[in-house]
Amino acid sequence: MLSCREVVQDADLLLAGELTWQRRMSMQMHVLMCHHCRRYVKQLRVLIRAVPFMHAKASDDEVDQIMAHVCSDENTDH
């Protein structure tokens, strides 16, 4: 039987539907019997769906670098 560590390691692939049939069965068997991993997979699914709504602000350096490139492109175009 898979360990909890292995389930967590492969949970991303499980949710993406990228596991082999055999591995998926092993994962599902473990999740059925382990409420900690069941909770992990359930909460990971919610977390992944929330990512598009998390807005990290670009750092000042990133903004400066991007603006420098934009300005240099504009100067090249003219």
């Binding site: 909890c4 560590r5 991303d12 900690h36 909460q43 990512v51 709504f53 990290a56 670009a58």
Partner: protein
């Protein structure tokens, strides 16, 4: 689109190897691979409910600004922009296994933060 592409190039300028950082959840298992410190019950079943707290949202923003650029890049491309893995690998010039490791680590960082917040109310 061009700006977005350029931004990615810039973000990846400081991209290192996928193995530079560790898995944020690695220390939560005992030697036999079972949970030593299992996840808290978040009591949420939707992204809206999860992000209801402005404090948590700030914590997440801060974390996203702090995690390695390579992790953030793969996370944004895959989970925010829904870009296929093969395209991510092409654009970032990384292997598929590297991309998956980076995505897993970024998600693990987010999971750890949310789990801690749900338990303590702090970042």
């Amino acid at each position: 689109m061009q700006l977005r592409s350029r931004k990615r190039e810039l973000l990846f300028a400081d991209m290192g190897d996928a193995h530079e950082s560790h898995d944020a959840l690695a220390d939560r298992f005992s030697d036999n691979g079972r949970w030593n410190n299992s996840p808290t019950n978040w009591h949420v079943d939707s992204p809206d409910a999860l992000l209801m707290s402005a404090d948590l949202e700030k914590c997440l923003e801060q974390l996203l600004a702090e995690i390695p650029a390579n992790q953030r890049a793969v996370l944004e491309m895959r989970d925010s922009s829904d870009i296929p893995f093969d395209e991510i690998c092409n654009e970032l010039s990384i292997s598929a296994s590297n991309a998956r490791v980076l995505l897993h680590r970024a998600r693990a960082e987010l999971f750890k933060l949310v789990d801690h917040y749900q338990e303590t109310g702090e970042c």
